[in-house]
Structures are given as structure tokens and as C-alpha cells.
Point group: C2
DNA sequence: TATATATGCAACTTTTTGGTTTCACAAATA
DNA sequence: TATTTGTGAAACCAAAAAGTTGCATATATA
């Protein structure tokens, strides 16, 4: 079972979960209320998110609070940065061209 | 079959293809040489990438050159930006805390 | 203590995905 | 013109993923 962050964010339900718990920790039940699927399906998504360390659990009595491990999101940012460089270079080149044309 | 960019980049082979054609357009055969899979499998990946507009084709005689539609990558950047805000806020808060402690 | 609640896990089913094989077709080339 | 080359597409297959149902377990609560 290869669990990487790219596979984790591929599923729209998981992206919605990430968005939900980004600002405040939530329990599986509370999360599941926001979707038309069973609690168990959400639980499975949470397991996948936990396995690739995108999500952290905190037990509180019989409840488990899930919250986003925001640092992990930086991995995507890092991967993206090589392409960001490309589009910035292209933008600069376009900009220079426009300046040249103006002159 | 819904094709979105997050699903497109979930597959490691597709990410490798993106990386290959980021700087220069390539034909399916040339791309396939870099993998231990059949040309047809690569062709399928290219179709998926094309369907979600991450990749652009340019016919040249009987060859087809594939190149990266770098603008589309910005969609990931855009999605990521909401989380970037969170981690920057956290960083600033931590920074302020450290300043306070120093005082 | 008996019951209700919050949760995870395992077994199973259905759908999706990634790959292969085979073919068709158009463009180059002998 | 006949053959080779570059390509996409369809049919098929195996594996993985996503969802459901049915548990088990631990913690609250009446």
C-alpha cells in the first residue's frame, strides 16, 4: 500500500476533510456529518490521511480529535516549487519582451 | 470519468512525465523510453494528462509533441495557498512568541 | 451494573485504475 | 507502390481503492 501525500489529496472527500479540520480539530462523527457517506468510510479516509502523516490524532476520553498536520502540506509546495520557477521565468521573459516592445 | 488535476498528479509515472516534458516538448515514444512500461501505457497517461488540460499536443507530421501546460499547475498552487496562509500565520505567531520570551 | 455512545477494524462488494495485447490508420521512406 | 514508423483506441485483465455491513472494544452515563 503506497501512501503518499499526492495520492492522499487525489480524493475529493479527503480534500474536503483536510479543509474541514484545517482550522480546528474534529471527531470522526462530526466530520462524517458533513458528507453523505457512512462514518466508516470517513474513518477509512482518516486512516489514510493519518498513515501519510497529513493528519494527527488526539485522544480525549472516548473521542478522538483529528487535526491537520500543516507542515506536511509543505511537501506539495516543495514539489510545486520547481514548476513555480518555470512559470515565473516565463512571466519575466514576457515582461522583458513587453518592455523591449515599448522601447 | 471525471479528470481533475489532483487525480492526474496522484500517479508517480504521470508526475515523472510532467517533469520530463516541463522544459521541452517530447513525443510519446521518446517519453516511453524513460520508463519500463509499454508505449501504450504511457499513451494512456498522456491522454489523462491531456483530458485535464495539464498537457498540450502539437502534431508535427506523424509525430505528436507533448508539452506541459504550466498555467494549469497554478491551480494546485491556488488550492495550496489557503494552507500556506495557515502555516505562515503559525510561523508569525511562533516568531512573536520568541520575541516576547527574549524580552 | 446495564445501556448508550464513539470509535476502529475486518470481511466483502463494486468501481476505478494501470497495464498489456491487438489492431487500425496516417505519414514517412525504400 | 510496398513497407516501416509513430500513434491512438478498443478489449481485456489484475490489482487497488472506495464504499458498505457487521462486528468488537472502550468510555461515558442512567
Amino acid at each position: 500500500m503506497r501512501r503518499d501525500i499526492f495520492q492522499a489529496i487525489a480524493d475529493p472527500t479527503r480534500r474536503a476533510i483536510i479543509s474541514l479540520i484545517a482550522l480546528q480539530a474534529m471527531t470522526p462523527n462530526a466530520i462524517a456529518e458533513n458528507f453523505n457517506t457512512t462514518r466508516q468510510a470517513i474513518s477509512k479516509h482518516l486512516r489514510i490521511l493519518t498513515e501519510c502523516e497529513l493528519v494527527r490524532q488526539e485522544q480525549q476520553g472516548r473521542e478522538i480529535y483529528y487535526s491537520l498536520e500543516i507542515e506536511k502540506m509543505k511537501e506539495i509546495d516543495q514539489w510545486l516549487s520547481q514548476y513555480r520557477e518555470i512559470w515565473q521565468t516565463r512571466f519575466n521573459q514576457l515582461d522583458e519582451l513587453l518592455v523591449t516592445i515599448k522601447k
